[in-house]
Each structure stands twice: as C-alpha cells, then as structure tokens.
Amino acid sequence: MDMRSDILNLMKNRGDLYRFLSKVYIKEMDPAFLDSMKAMSFPNISLESDLEEGFKELKEYLDNMSKDAVDDLAADYAKTFLSAGISNGSAAFPYESVYTSKDRLVMQEAWADVREIYASYGLSKGNVNSDVLEDHIALELEFMALLCKKSAEDIDEIKLLRSQSDFLDNHLLNWVPDFCKDVEEYAETKFYKAIAKITKGFLKLDRQILDKVIDIVIEKNGSRCYSLSTDRMDQILKQLKKNYRVYAPKRFEKRGPKGDSDLVRYAEIDSVKDIVLDVQSDFSPKEIYYPISQTMIYFENSHSSESILKEEKDIIIFARPCDINGIESLDKIFLENGGYADIYYKRLRDKVKFFMIECKEGFEDCFCVSMGSNKTDNYSVAVRLGEDNILVEVKDVEFFSLFRDEKSADFTPMFVESNKKVVKLPKIESDEDLKKAYGLEFWKNYDEKCIGCGGCCTVCGTCSCFDTVDVIYSDTSTDGERKRVWSSCMLDTFTLTAGGKRFRETNGENMRFRTLHKVYDFKKRFGTDRHMCVGCGRCDMRCPQDISFSDTINTFSEEMEL
C-alpha cells in the first residue's frame, strides 16, 4: 500500500471509532446496536494500554452478557451520566463546560467556544442531535468523526489535520480524561467502565497519531513558510530557549580588535533584534561547536578519563550560507579524516541545527560566489529578518509545531548572486603545476608583510588546527587535564619539533601552505566540490597588516598563468 492509501485508511478507521463512541454516549444502548456490537471484531492492538484493556473488557462483557443487559445498561446510563436514582448527585456529567468551569456549570465558556467552532464548519447541533448541548461528549466526538471524514477527502489539507489536533488539545483532551475517570468510578457495569477506558486511551493515542500524520503530510508537501512579527518571533525564541541554546552574531560595543570599534561575534541571544545584520561578524560561529579551548582528558592518580560534556541543551545557530557551508570543512577533518571520528567535536556537532539568515548582498570583503559557498539548503529554518516583520521557511519537522499557528506566506530565501570581490582560483592540474606553485617567488612577498600572528585562522570558519596543552592543578602532583586549543599554520612554532627543527621557516612559506590548503589540497584530498575557504572575508577584516586573502589568491592565480 502506498502512503496515500495508508493515510486514507487511517482517517476512515479513526472516524469509525469516533462515531462508534459518539453513538454509545449519546443515549442509552438500544437492543439493535448492542446486537451489532456483539458481531464487531475489536482490534487487538497494544499501542496504548488503556485502549487495549478497554477493548478486552468490552469483549468480555459482550461475550458474557445477560438477557437483561439492555435494561441494566439503561439504568447504568441514567445513573452515571444523568445522575438519576441513588447517585447522591455524584455523576460523570458528559459536558465539557461542567469539567472546565469553576462552578461545574453547563453552557459556560467551553460550550460557547465549541458552538463557534461548529459554526465555522457550517454545523449546528440540529445537524446531529437537538436534545443535548453542543459540548456533550457525543457531539464533540461526532465532530471529530466529521473532521476525519473531511480529511479523508483531502489528505493534503494540513489545516484540517491541525484543526483536529487543536480540537483535541483545546477541548476533548482538556476534560475527557477526568470525565472517563469519573465514569470508571461511578458506572456499575463493566460495559461503561470499558467504554471509558477505550475513550481515554483512544484520545491520547489519536493525538500522537495526528502529530505523526501532520509531519508526514508536511514532509510530503515540502517546507512551510510563514510571516510573523518580531515580537512573535521573540516569543518563539523564548520557547526554543527551553531546549536550545540559541546563538547569533551579536554586537559587543567597544570590544573590537581595532581600538574603539565594536566586536561582533557569536553569542546567545534573547531577541532576534540582537542579531547583527549590517556587518559581517568578526568571528565565525565555529567557536560554538569547536571551542577555542576544550578539555579532552582528566588525569588523576595515574589514570586518564574523558572530559564530560556539561551542555545538555541542543544548539541553534543563526548563520549565513557561507558559515553553514564552512562547517562541512570541519566535519571532513574531525569526523572523516583518517577514518577516526573525533568524539569531542562530534558530541557538540550532533547538537547543532542551523537557522539560515538570508544573505542577499554580502559585505565588502566577501567572495562567497567565487568559492561556490553562497548557497545552501542545509538548514532547519531559513529567516528573512525585516525591521518589524520576519519571514521564515521551516524545513525541519522538529520546528513545525512551533510555527504552525503563524500566517502562511510566500517565501523563497534568496542568496548572494554576485560579490564586489571576484576571485579567480589557480589552475593546478599536474605535478608540474604544483611544483610551479611551490616554487613561486611571489610567496616571499609575505616573508616581511605577514607578521605570523595567526589572526586569519582564528576568525576563519574552516580552520581546524589545534595544539594540545597540559594543565596541572598543583606543582606537586600530575593531576590535571589535557586541553586542546586553536592553533594556526601561520605561527612560527606550528611546524617546530622538539628537536628545534622548523619545517616551514618563513612567513612566506606559511602563507604558501595556508593558501594551497585553502584552495587546492583540501579539495584534492577529500574529493569534494568545495574548497576549504568559503569566502566570508573575515581574514581580510582581521589582518593587522591589511593582507587580503582574495587578492592573494588572485595574484597566485595570475602568477600560475605567467
């Protein structure tokens, strides 16, 4: 069976059960209905314990029914639901309003609410049964059966499915579980006790089924786009922050590397208004999933143990396409290279989900288009952050429910189509080309110009190199920890061995190494279509010597063609 007929079947079965229960609650059992029930085969399912037990007990009752059953059930119905006879006023009144209003009265808020809902579907109780109020359990169940029927006619209509889960959340599940508990307490017959169990169990299960079906249908129909206000987005952000740490580029006033300037780096935000959009962030988001300094191992009494990750929450990062693409480089190194997956990287990386900040213009130093990293579809949610209004595209099932009440909108995220800076990549197609690249005099220009500070690697979203450093707690013992800290191939110590041999001896050689890694080696090694540079331009922003990496690549490429 295909998914479509699976869903159709499911809708029909749900509708049937809702209608059956409605019929049981609306009035006393009549002999014909009771007889037909005996012929019914009840599903033997173990999806929900109350439901399973209820079916079992109902079957037992029907199998062992006395000839006075109709009368017994009529008496029990009157006693349980109508508080007739010797019930001392204790009954399970089958009206939502009774269960949800302060003074247990009929025709209160819930009643008015369901009337309105029925009306929005062109229904009035006249359509069903005029003897009871609209918030009677039988009518609410019948309404669900009707929605199931409508859903079966149009299974792609998410709104219909959502109105069912909403009706369950806002009405049936709000009171029926308590009502069923009362039925089990006040009913004398096994019949109504079993029906109560079935009702309670089925509603609970059906709510879960609806979530699944909604996810499947949404998945089938692609992503969902919405328009919402900044305030509304902040409310959603507040919701998200219960389970996630939410990071975005954030401004830190007068904390910049150059005197009085501001620093923009990734940090947790409280409002989408915190997200800095007017400039490229000084740092990439990598410090979130690959911290600057990270304890790997504890040493204690001559034993070693793995550091514990204290972070329990998952991570959401608002990032531009370049940075989302940048994480692929770190993934290659930390998760794939050499066939070893790095546990410290993986345990944080697995938590990360991206909310893509739509980036249409780029900034002064960007060259993402040249690097082919201006676009991505690797995000859970895409956002266009306007002054007062936000457009979102939700792709990740996990976030569907958060946005589902928002106003639908047309939104296709756009990407940078051209940068002011255009970079031409070097042509290296043979061993001879590579030898030529290594031998270029041009690299010597950087011997003096570059001061080997490593700042370019620090701000880079794809640079992954690190040193390990041991820290001890006291001079008298070896108890302590082994950390890893970011390193840079531009530092003069990067290739320096304990014996004092430095394998790359000049800043120019380091520049040659870094450039080739970024635009040749990485791609060659991993056979990907992406280089280890996403053209974010941060290294140019950072360099105290005003060395531009895009200019370096361009000059390198020109030199290769001479």
Binding site: N337, Y340, R482, A498
Partner: protein, 262 residues
C-alpha cells in the same frame, strides 16, 4: 564510540641509558605493532609526542628517546616502576614483505636507528628471509653511539658499517654515512630496497648520494618525522601538501617523499 585521544597508563620495566641524552624505555604492553610504527607518549602536565617503537618482545615495547624537548626531558625523569601514558600504534609500516628475499640496505643517522630497529631484529632472527642486509649507521661521535650491544650482534649477522662523523675510534669508520654508500655494490644486486632514516639533512644528502650511485627512486624508503599533536589526522601539524604524515606516513617511498614540500 571509541575515544582515540585517551592515552592509557603503562608501567616502565627497564631503562637503558645509551648516552647522556638517549635512553631506551621498556614498557609493559601487549599491543601488536608493525615495523616502523609509532606511539603518542605522554606525561600529564608535560604533554605528548610521537615516538617510534624501537624494540618489542613478549609483553613489552621499547621506545628510544632523545632528550630534546620538554616531553623527552620529562621522560628522562622517569624510572622503573613509574607510569607513562601511551596511545597507538599509529602510522603505516615498512613494507617488510616487499623487502623479503631481496637485498636490503639500511642507512641510519643517530636515533634514526630506532624506527628501523625492530625490522633489523626481525631479519637478524630470520636471516633466511633476506638475501643480504647492509647496515650503514652514522653517529656524531663515540659519546652518541646507540644500541652498541645490538650493533655487535648485527655485525655477526649482516654487513655493518658503523661510522662516526667527527672522530676516529676502534671498530668505527670515520666520516658521514654518505661517504660509505659507494661501498655498497648495488650493481651486483638483482633486487634490492634501501631504507633511509635520520635527521632531515642526513636524509636529504643520503638520498641524493643514493641517486648519484644509480639507485632508482622507487627502491628508496624513508621514515620522516614531523610535529604532531594528535596522530589521527585532526591537529594539522604534520600535514604536508594533501598528505598527513600521521596517517599516510611516517614511511614513504621516495617517489612520493620527494614531492612532499612542507
């Protein structure tokens, strides 16, 4: 998921002091290793460094360490009964099966003997597996000579030329290893391989001299040393071109090694 960065403590059972600056540490360890592989050795608070296995036997491994840096200095403070942290073995190994039933020439400079020593021991014990073995080992002076007992044994098994760079002494030739290469009659070998391990300059001039003596590039194997902080392809320190020495090395055929430009 296995955490490859966690080292395990191992007990030091013997310390062999070759020179003031070069000791061999024997540690209790049951690992299977191949010839030419290395371990990351560490002492908490001092740090980690890649060290070749220089000897192995039933339930132990040996590491020959030259006192050059903070870690190795720290290791020199250790004694029998102390603990050293280890993880490994890492890296590829000498293609010993390729070497078997051929002539083999091994040229070492100083502690460069350590990475080839388990292979020399293997052929010393299995002489029927090699047509001939020629060892040229150079040391700076008499105070720097390592593995004297082993070399004496090798002298019974193979053609051994031990040379001191700067001085004359009984039982030693004088001069750099490069000066002795012409004593090997490569033209009389039908099939052979050459292994060169030592300091970068020694390897540079030795391979140059080998090529000048008509040795084909593809017959030469080298083991190279680079700075490493992880040994599993993550830290980036040992990367040359698109090659990670810790993963694809430390042993390279010269046809590949000659193109490795740091």
């Amino acid at each position: 998921m296995k955490n490859v960065m966690i080292p395990k403590p191992h007990e030091i059972t013997h310390v062999i002091k070759h020179t003031k600056a070069e000791y061999t540490f024997r540690v209790a360890c049951d690992d299977e290793t191949k010839h030419g592989q290395f371990y990351m050795l560490s002492i908490p608070k001092i740090g980690e460094a890649p060290i070749s296995v220089s000897g192995k036997g039933d339930g132990y491994l040996e590491f020959t360490i030259r006192k050059v840096g903070r870690l190795t200095e720290g290791v020199f403070g250790l004694d029998v009964g102390d603990t050293i942290f280890m993880r490994g073995p890492y890296g590829n190994s000498f293609p010993v099966e390729d070497f078997e039933n051929k002539h083999l020439v091994v040229i070492t400079g100083g502690t460069g003997m350590a990475p080839v020593k388990t292979m020399l021991d293997y052929f010393s014990e299995n002489q029927d597996k090699i047509k001939s073995l020629h060892l040229i080992s150079g040391f700076r002076d008499l105070d720097c000579v390592l593995f004297t007992d082993e070399i004496d044994k090798y002298k019974c098994d193979f053609n051994v030329i031990c040379s001191l760079d700067n001085m004359e002494a009984p039982g030693f030739h004088k001069g750099l290893v490069t000066e002795h290469i012409k004593k090997i009659h490569f033209d009389t070998f039908d099939e052979y391989s050459v292994v060169v391990v030592g300091p970068p300059l020694m390897m540079h001039f030795t391979t140059k001299e080998l090529l000048a003596n008509g040795v084909d590039e593809s017959r030469i194997w080298v083991s190279i040393e680079r700075k490493m902080h992880c040994a599993v392809g993550k830290c980036g320190h040992c990367k040359i071109n698109d090659t990670y020495v810790c993963l694809e090395g430390p042993i390279f055929n010269y046809t590949d090694a000659k193109d490795l430009i740091d």
